[in-house]
Symmetry: none
DNA sequence: CAGGTTCTGAAATTTCTGATACAGGTTTTA
DNA sequence: TAAAACCTGTATCAGAAATTTCAGAACCTG
């Protein structure tokens, strides 16, 4: 008799996922006294009150632990951990919303698509920079500025292009720079020469590519230093990497965005060029002269 | 009852919210490899990654549970629950004061290079988007979405990598896509097959490369449609290009930044993928299946 | 006011989490 | 090159947390 199969809400909340808090407010009437106390506590400190232990929650609400359990069960969760998981996910989604709000809304075409895409990418860049430890970045700069080291760039299907981009710049700034194809057959032979003096800079984002991982593991086993540019979920290469620089990659697209990786790459190029300026300058001038002579 | 009812407080942080994240970034270099992985995971999903169980956190970070425990102990917490409590409190405090968002912007001097570089790049992206004519962008999307067209990507020394990046994506979304090396010797032969049905997408920024220009001029003479992604000063290719998308490239570096070009590329990929979704989806699934079979 | 229903919490039970000891392996130091 | 220090994962344990059971309390209902 409690539910006469009514439609829930005349104006159903449109876009946003129905927050748990909202649902609790709507169902408040049907709660028992104990459940109401639990609901009030949760709503008044939403959602943090629910992130504590059952005992803590019960104590703060002035009810017993079983009552709390009955409350969350009544809300449709399989147990208290399930309930907490939902709260955390909801909170995380809400906190990341400024980025998520722009993307799904306007599916128009042309400029709006470009503009919103750009905003998402910009958000990625900011997030990327904030999550990079300055010391880590500096350490990589120092590593790539060491003239005694040999630098090898590599990457996967899509990120391979970024590795090439990095290589094409570093090649001019300093010596001992090359690009390694990801396919095992193409690098197996060269591995014999990889050792402690070598640095592997690998680009690898999700749908992590096994051959790139294999390359890095082999190189690491030989004593090479591995630097990894990846996404926040970390390629398995992180296992053997000495330095890891994660970049945010999620964009309103069926594809991931590599803009963050490019940003890091260009920042590294800029920093290393500055650091090696004394030797880089003449190299750059020479390259320029050779180019002109040729044509 | 075991509570000594005493707040443990090593360094009284009563001034500003010295975010735990910030501290981790500063101490990053003193961490062991395992600890770094834990730190990276936490920072990349701050602070939600830390609200799970130890086992979950360890698994996601790719390390063992004890390493996680050692990590939080090293940060000065008495145990994992204490660590989680701190994260919750920090999160709650931050969520209640929207003005706290200004804090992460000003880094001391750790890597102002990276932060300011990022800001410059972001400025480039905004400027790029504003200076693109929506109609021009849409026209390019339509062109690249035409299944009867054959698409060829090319670029110069540095921008060639971007052309490869574009090609590696479009190749999956649609058929008749390839990459042309910039050196004349490598494309002269193929020019015989270039005609009205072909689209050349060229990447070229200052220090404009003569061979790329030559390629485009030849192709245009044969009736091909040329799309140019360049800088605001426009590569000479613009004379024969049907569509031109300029991107801002100036950065605080001895090198130009290609981030704007990458943004346009990714936006084009996203738009074309969406437009061709009916045919692109099965293609992407097939590619995925082939990849899995192979490995 | 009895009988039935619903609600609630104390205590018992079970599950699972966080913590520790220890040993193999690696890097650093002498 | 050998020794020492350090790092890290496996196995294990202790204890806390969530869950269930069950009996009593509160509240209708006729």
């Amino acid at each position: 008799m409690n539910q006469s199969s009514m439609r829930r809400n005349p104006p159903p909340p449109r876009t946003e996922p129905p927050s748990l808090a909202e649902r609790i407010r709507l169902e408040m009437e049907s709660f028992t006294p104990s459940e109401k106390r639990a609901a009030h506590l949760l709503l008044s400190h939403y959602p943090f009150a629910g992130l504590d232990t059952v005992a803590e929650f019960a104590s703060r609400a002035g009810i017993s632990a079983p009552s709390v359990l009955r409350f969350v069960t009544r809300l449709g969760f399989s147990g208290f951990p399930d309930f907490q998981k939902h709260l955390r996910e909801e909170l995380e989604a809400q906190l990341l919303s400024p980025l998520a709000k722009a993307s799904p809304s306007d599916k128009g075409q042309g400029a709006p698509a470009l503009a919103s895409f750009a905003e998402a990418v910009i958000g990625n860049l900011r997030a990327t920079v904030e999550n990079i430890a300055p010391a880590e970045f500096d350490a990589v700069v120092a590593l790539l500025s060491d003239p005694r080291r040999h630098i090898h760039f590599t990457g996967g299907r899509f990120t391979g292009a970024l590795a090439r981009y990095a290589e094409s710049h570093f090649r001019i700034v300093r010596s001992h720079v090359d690009f390694i194809e990801g396919q095992p057959a193409l690098w197996r032979d060269r591995m014999i020469e990889i050792g402690r003096k070598d640095v592997i800079v690998a680009f690898d984002i999700r749908r992590y590519q096994e051959d790139v991982t294999a390359l890095c593991e082999t190189a690491a086993r030989q004593g090479a230093t591995v630097v990894l540019l990846t996404d926040p979920w970390l390629s398995p290469i992180a296992r053997v990497a000495r330095h890891v620089l994660p970049a945010h990659i999620v964009a309103p697209s069926n594809w991931d965005s590599s803009a963050g990786l490019l940003l890091l790459t260009e920042a590294l190029v800029a920093a290393v060029t500055k650091r090696l300026w004394e030797t880089a300058k003449p190299r750059m001038e020479t390259v320029e002269r050779l180019r002109n002579e040729q044509s």
